[in-house]
């Protein structure tokens, strides 16, 4: 169990921000909270490193903060402003309802992970407590992509999902070796850039980020 107070605080922050991301309707605030949750993730990594999880976690944490907290929100904000997209995001759920859905999904993710055989093998995992939580975050990310109608928030959903996976790797394997971590982060960065340009193109073409208009292409 993570006994140090610092990593516990980081964990709570990480979960709280992810859930708030789930419910936010304006792009700047969504980006801000996503950055905060990435910073929390980085802090979590540092906390684990301090507990003797291996010194290689420090550069990982730095990379997380650098890429996810700074670079990706910057790219998305600039792209959104340049394409003139409305900062008002569209979702199929009102914010209050999405809170309940978010918590429900997070809870079911945790219970699902608890029953899974992976969790019973806790002798192998460094921080067993983190595993269900990270799984919950993965599910929240996925549901966010489903619930949100516009492209940008779906991107953020995908990034939250990716955060969840990072946390999962932290808890299960005690952090992925640096080279792979950097690979993942570069992939995330390129992914974000790609998605941003794509949504800009869609904005120019259809005049809106709402994915429900995309279906006209198929008819």
């Amino acid at each position: 169990m993570t006994n140090s107070l610092f990593s516990l605080l980081m964990l709570v922050l990480f979960v709280g921000e992810t859930l708030t991301c789930f419910t936010l309707m304006r792009l700047p605030s969504l980006l801000r909270f996503y950055a905060l949750s990435s910073v929390a993730l980085g802090g979590l990594a540092i906390g684990l490193a301090l507990e003797g999880g291996g010194v290689h976690l420090i550069p990982v944490a730095v990379a997380v903060v650098a890429v996810k907290a700074l670079l990706v929100p910057f790219v998305i904000k600039r792209m959104a402003e340049r394409s003139g997209a409305s900062l008002r995001l569209v979702s199929s759920l009102r914010p209050s309802a999405s809170w309940f859905v978010g918590i429900g999904v997070f809870g079911s993710g945790i219970s699902l992970a608890l029953h899974s055989p992976l969790y019973q093998m806790n002798n192998m995992i460094q921080t067993p407590a983190l595993l269900p939580i990270s799984f919950g975050v993965i599910l929240v990310g996925l549901v966010m992509m489903i619930i949100r109608k516009d492209l940008l928030s779906q991107m953020i959903g995908f990034l939250v999902l990716e955060n969840g996976i990072g946390a999962f790797s932290l808890s299960a394997l005690g952090g992925i070796p640096v080279a792979i971590e950097f690979g993942v982060y570069s992939a995330v960065l390129i992914g974000a850039i790609l998605m941003a340009t794509l949504s800009q193109r869609v904005q120019n073409l259809l005049g809106t980020h709402d994915t429900s208009h995309l279906s006209e292409l198929t008819d």
Binding site: L112, P117, L139, L142, I147
Partner: protein, 660 residues
């Protein structure tokens, strides 16, 4: 000598390959003749190889790198040699037939690709018969199916493309079933050959054996054209050029039979009573259904295709009775029924390929496949019509010809086992006996209709009135050989039986004995001929042969013309009426008034066309159901990304819940 005989088989396969390659040489007829010539040589070598194996049963020809795990070993054992002999014989004759025949079809067919495909087709069949492991078997099977698919498409007309696609779907469903069957049986040993498979099968649990039997039965049955899976056969065979449909109908169906028997006799342990009744039921169904449609069909080559289905049904019935007897412990009936099936298969291969080759000449002469447009060809092609007549009599399995003695052996073997103890066996044998007898009668009807409507009486269309393209020497020669073989096989049935290893039935060189009944085929033939000759002599003694006068037919005083003759539809009308429950025909009557104001004076046109109940109540509803299901599934592609993500989310949950 053994070294030479070793490579006889290899040489035959090689020459088929060379004929294929050199066919692609160029457009001129020289390459066409060269490729067919090579095919001839491969046919001869193949016949020599199979005779060598048949005459000295213990020698087994094999070639290929015996040791290597990957490359399959090819081996010709006595059982395969019978079919290899058939393949070589008919490919030899169809190559001989094709040289002049294709020369007159240069514009419809692309000769280069056609000859190459024929060579691959024959090579595929030879590989199937020679292969000793499932992989090689399937290799040969696929080359055979694909080559025949392209051959059916060769004239690029719309309906032959449609027929070929149906054929492709059905054969590959079958091939898929075969593959699954082999793999299921091999339980993981992919490269096991037939002996290892047999060993594995011996110890395999019952459910694997029954599933494998079902798969093999569907696979080989759909290829052989058993009824529920036969819909492709009457479409595909007529669409191919005639010497190809002769190869397909005469030989490919036998290769499917070979595969079925190879699996049942050499790999699977003796199958139970229910499985054999299964074969028997389907055999009877396809025999009865095939012959009924052969009788009422108006298209020349489709009649032959349906009669192929009927004969295959007969062969599978004989197999069904054989395996049923084996399961009930009647060893004698098992032996004779199996021999009758193989003998009947050989006879069918010979006369059916002869009929298809002959149909090629007739269709070319009349420029159409419709029986209603033929007539009076016997007067314009007397020699050809005599050869065609012999083949039709053989196809109707009448006495002096080979199929009659195949059926005679089968009937005698059933007769002797009627009085077996339990009643169930007797009832099954009696019902089989009754249906086969009905099928025999109707088969005669079909073949008489085929010969009479196309050959006799007045020509019913301009094209048939004066035939421009008379059969050339090469074509007539190959058809004549097949007719002579059909008769010869009948007369020397005892020697042929002892050749294919059924000497248990041959008591003395000229007699076939089943139980207590004996028959001397040649004696019957010479007796019949003798009686006809005596009558010819008596007629010359008692009446003056010169006292003759030619005058037009008795027409009750009013001049009649060809349109008043009986056509194929009219000839088969009673049968269509008696079996109207089974044979669905769609009759439409259209009356157009001649003068708009006067409703009474109308010209009425009636059209009667044949519905295939398997297609109408079987495959078309099935197809419609599948398309409807596809429509439902299509709704899932709503174009909404979030819906796709939801699906991913659900699958993620499901997998985690199930797997982790």
């Amino acid at each position: 000598m053994s070294l030479f005989s070793q490579n006889l088989l290899f040489a035959s396969l090689l020459f088929t390959l060379f004929s294929g390659i050199c066919a692609l040489g160029g457009r001129s007829l020289v390459f066409h003749k060269l490729s067919q010539g090579l095919l001839l040589v491969s046919g001869v070598l193949g016949m020599l190889a199979s005779f060598k194996v048949l005459l000295a049963p213990q020698t087994v020809l094999y070639f290929g790198l015996a040791s290597s795990e990957f490359f399959p070993v090819f081996q010709l054992d006595p059982y395969g040699a019978v079919f290899f002999l058939l393949i070589s014989l008919v490919s030899f004759l169809s190559a001989l037939y094709a040289v002049p025949y294709l020369a007159s079809y240069q514009e419809t067919y692309h000769l280069q690709s056609l000859n190459a495909l024929v060579a691959t087709f024959v090579l595929g069949m030879q590989l199937v018969v020679v292969s000793q492991s499932p992989m090689a078997f399937m290799l040969g099977w696929e080359t055979m199916s694909l080559a025949s698919f392209f051959l059916v498409v060769s004239d690029r007309s719309h309906e032959s493309v449609k027929a070929a696609l149906l054929y492709l779907v059905m054969t590959h469903l079958g091939a898929g079933a075969l593959l699954i069957g082999f793999l299921l049986l091999a339980q993981g040993f992919f490269f096991a050959d037939f002996e290892q498979l047999a060993a594995l099968a011996a110890s395999a649990p019952l459910w694997i054996l029954s599933v494998c039997f079902g798969l093999f039965f569907f696979g080989f049955g759909s290829k052989a054209g058993l009824v529920p899976f036969h819909v492709w056969l009457p479409e595909a065979h007529p669409a191919a050029p005639s010497h190809i449909s002769a190869l397909m109908s005469g030989i490919m169906l036998k290769v499917a039979l070979y595969g079925f028997l190879r699996v049942l006799l050499f790999i699977l342990p003796p199958i139970g009573a229910t499985a054999s009744l299964f074969i028997l039921g389907f055999g009877l169904l396809s025999a009865l259904y095939g012959v009924l449609y052969a009788v009422v069909e108006r298209d020349f080559k489709r009649t032959l295709a349906f009669s192929s289905i009927e004969n295959i049904g007969l062969i599978f019935t004989m197999l069904g009775v054989a395996f049923f007897a084996q399961s009930q412990g009647l060893e004698g009936l098992y032996q004779t029924a199996l021999i009758a099936a193989i003998f009947f298969a050989i006879a069918h291969a010979i006369f059916k390929s002869g009929l298809f080759l002959a149909s090629g000449l007739i269709v070319r002469a009349v420029h159409s496949r419709d029986l209603e447009k033929m007539g009076g060809l016997a007067r314009q092609m007397p020699l050809f019509s005599m050869v065609f007549f012999v083949l039709c009599l053989a196809a109707a399995s009448l006495p002096p010809f080979a199929p009659f003695f195949g059926e005679w052996i089968f009937f005698q073997s059933i007769l002797q086992n009627f009085s077996s103890q339990n009643l169930f066996v007797t009832i099954v044998l009696i019902l089989t006996f009754a249906v086969i007898a009905l099928v025999g009668g109707l088969a005669i009807f079909a073949m008489v209709k085929l010969f009479a409507i196309s050959m006799l009486a007045e020509p019913r269309s301009e094209a048939a009135r004066e035939v421009h393209e008379k059969p050339r020497a090469g074509e007539l020669f190959s058809v004549a050989i097949l007719a002579f073989l059909a008769l010869g096989l009948g007369l020397y049935a005892p020697t042929v039986l002892s050749l294919i290893g059924a000497s248990v039935l041959v008591s003395s060189p000229a007699e076939i004995t089943v139980g207590s009944a004996t028959i001397q085929p040649s004696l019957i033939f010479w007796l019949l001929l003798g009686c006809v000759f005596v009558v010819w002599i008596l007629r010359r003694i008692f009446s003056r042969t010169a006292h003759e006068r030619i005058y037009h037919g008795w027409d009750c005083g009013q001049p009649i013309d060809a349109s008043m003759e009986y056509t194929a539809t009219a000839f088969s009308a009673p049968i269509r009426f008696f079996f109207r429950l089974i044979l669905k025909t769609k009759k439409t009557l259209v009356a157009q008034p001649v003068v708009a104001t006067n409703p009474w004076i109308t010209t009425r046109t009636a059209t009667v066309d044949l519905r295939s109940i398997w297609m109408d109540y079987g495959y078309v509803p099935l197809g419609r159901f599948i398309i409807e299901m596809a429509e439902q599934v299509k709704k899932i592609q709503s174009g909404n990304i979030r819906f796709y993500l939801l699906l991913m989310f659900l699958t993620l949950i499901l997998t985690i819940w199930v797997a982790l």
